[in-house]
Symmetry: C2
Subunit: 154 residues, 2 copies
DNA sequence: TTATTGTGTACCATTATAGTACTATTTAAT
DNA sequence: ATTAAATAGTACTATAATGGTACACAATAA
């Protein structure tokens, strides 16, 4: 099904909430209460997003989390790789060890092209796009977004 | 990691082997022997590919499997959905049940755009592309393939 | 009629995921 | 200083998904 993990899904919900006021500092508890996601789970996700530098945290009393940069600069690819590690479809796109299929492994380099295409697609959508009303009109999606595949080689 | 299952990976190996002679009928055993994938696993994958109409099978003695159509007409999206069901990133892109996040679910329709983009990317690559030598030169990838996102709404 | 080959379903073991718990660390307020 | 409010990090557990296997059934050619 080519699915994302539930945690990644939650992360987008959390981030889209936080993006409503991009400079405000939210505590994990606030976020849990507003989104309806269980507190420990929220906490786990926030930690991962901090490690990936999508969020910044301040510890101690009056601490909390805030976006590390403007929603326009946070891509879906950022979020996914924060939660799930490198974006790649097949095992051997990440590590090559022990991949010795007897036949037909000129495939690999072609997979990597597909990976890049998808990665590119995911990088072209930002958090700002995601919180726009979905009226399709005047979203970035409506402006003939084109993906020049050759640009992947640069 | 946005990963594909191992079975899907195997499927591409199997199909790229079969595409070498697109009209020949191969038995599951032959395929297992050539690819080095365990026979029962090969069999399972072949069954799924038949159900998805990527392969056709003939039963009985002298039976076996062959491509259902030319490699140019078999897309990566076909293969993935055969093995993993509908291509969609989030649960609620498939079934909507019980998705009542307290806040911020104008997101969903935007996810569906991303889904479509990725689906489109996967449909633009065929089995024929995958078995081409990976020399990048004169692959379809080198011809400024562009994906007009607005076309997704048609 | 028999050997060969695919079909379908059910099952099990292993792994990954989601979720939880707990301890340590940092900072603001008193 | 001390306390309370927060995040950080790590380790653990239960559940679900995945990969892989087994077996009875169906179809076809010789």
């Amino acid at each position: 099904m080519l699915r994302l993990s539930k945690l990644t899904d939650y992360a987008t919900v959390i981030l889209s909430f936080m993006a409503k006021d991009e400079t405000q500092v939210y505590t994990a508890m606030e976020i849990a209460a507003t989104t309806g996601i269980a507190m420990p789970t929220v906490s786990k996700i926030l930690k991962l997003l901090v490690n990936a530098k999508v969020l910044i945290s301040t510890r101690g009393a009056k601490g909390g989390y805030a976006l590390a940069r403007a929603p326009e600069k946070i891509t879906v690819a950022n979020v996914i790789s924060a939660l799930e590690g490198p974006i790649a479809l097949t095992e051997c796109s990440i590590s090559q060890k022990g991949c010795e299929q007897a036949s037909g492994c000129g495939i690999r380099s072609n997979w990597s092209l597909i990976n890049q295409t998808i990665h590119h697609a995911l990088e072209s959508v930002t958090l700002a796009d995601m919180i726009k009303p979905a009226t399709v009109k005047d979203t970035v999606w409506n402006q003939e977004v084109m993906i020049p595949v050759s640009s992947l080689y640069r």
